[in-house]
Symmetry: C2
Subunit: 230 residues, 2 copies
């Protein structure tokens, strides 16, 4: 019992400290006119493949960059760098999520001049990242058609903290007999009215719709006194 | 800095306490002649579908049961119960892994008489479960062909703590252009010599081989003075 209480206390302190840093970051992003989008999902949902496709497209009309969290390798950063957008890896070691302080450190002296949109790809994990605000304006939770339609019911917290659900690997939907109606029902059971965007990084399905959605959200959130490039 | 040090201290205490309970559990399992197998993987790798198939087959010749961890639902327990094996759900709330104490509590007053093999399906997570010994004799790490061949490099700790790698959803290997040689290479880069078993819960591919492997391991680990049913 004692160890439980102590753990909770320390955890709350870490989360509170994270919230303070995230709030500061959010203010700085807003002031700089940077629209910040984070991505969370299981390992293997296809965050990196999707983001590579999005960066490649956005890159031609906006100033975009990405931070990517991983436990141990810089594979993802190398994949994303093929889009020609500036990309920086955050290696978390054994930590199962990104924290606002890691984002701040990674951006110090690195954040590209005149940035319009910054993507932050979290560590592949449907549990831990839920509790950590990174100062983002929009949080995407991704689930792939291969994972099972009940993921929102099993990991409700992460779906609750996200703004948009992206269903990836739609090119495999038929092969895995993906039940789209059930997936939507489960997402909306956890978060009624949540926007759901089906995409495929392989075929490009839904990518234009996703980008249009993103640009419209970025425009809405831009401070009126600044003309940001979206 | 101070918060980091305190967190590490508390975490070590929790892990140490977990190890004590796990050791006790392992002794009890050994004495009772129960071979305990745990399963870890990402959410959506197909632990439950695979385990349902394995339980259904084993059920006809051994006394088997399963504990299944999940954050929020008892969906998995209901699916596994279709095998007719005794199944009990452990709801972890916001905790991203099972702990030895949760296993002990779940078994108290429930462990079926004369059990041969107990499966413990962990919460879907490739990070947190790595640090928690559950008293199991064999730990399986599952990865699906849809997740990408580099998972072992990106989540080395979980592969290091596991005894066997199971590659699931082999029926989708062609559709996702799964590179089996690369997957093996990455697994062995992290854990040289690790047994790798490709399976499909859908077609049954590899399930007999998996069961033969399991039975042989169970026989090897059985204390000589007891004749367990495997």
């Amino acid at each position: 019992m004692i160890r439980q209480t102590r753990l909770v206390e320390v955890r709350q302190k870490v989360l509170k400290q994270n919230d303070v840093v995230a709030r500061e970051l959010r203010g700085q992003f807003r002031e700089a006119g940077v629209f910040v989008v984070s991505l969370v999902s299981s390992p293997g949902t296809g965050k990196t493949a999707f983001l590579e496709r999005v960066l490649t497209t956005l890159q031609t009309r906006h100033r975009v960059a990405a931070l990517v969290g991983d436990l141990a390798t810089d594979n993802d950063a190398r994949r994303l760098a093929r889009s020609n957008a500036p990309v920086k890896q955050i290696i978390t070691g054994t930590v199962c999520h990104l924290e606002a302080e890691m984002v701040r450190s990674a951006l110090a002296g690195w954040m590209p001049e005149g940035l319009d949109i910054l993507f932050i790809e979290n560590v592949g994990n449907l549990v831990c990242p839920a509790s950590y605000d990174l100062g983002e304006a929009l949080r995407l939770v991704l689930m792939s058609v291969t994972e099972g339609e009940d993921k929102p019911l099993k990991y409700p917290t992460i779906f609750n903290t996200a703004d948009v659900a992206v269903i990836t690997k739609m090119d495999l939907a038929a092969a895995v007999e993906f039940d789209s109606a059930a997936a939507h029902r489960n997402i909306h059971a956890v978060r009624p009215g949540m926007t759901v965007l089906p995409v495929s990084a392989k075929t490009g399905q839904g990518v234009d719709e996703f980008i249009a959605f993103l640009e419209s959200r970025a425009r809405e959130s831009a401070p009126s006194e600044k003309a940001i490039g979206v």
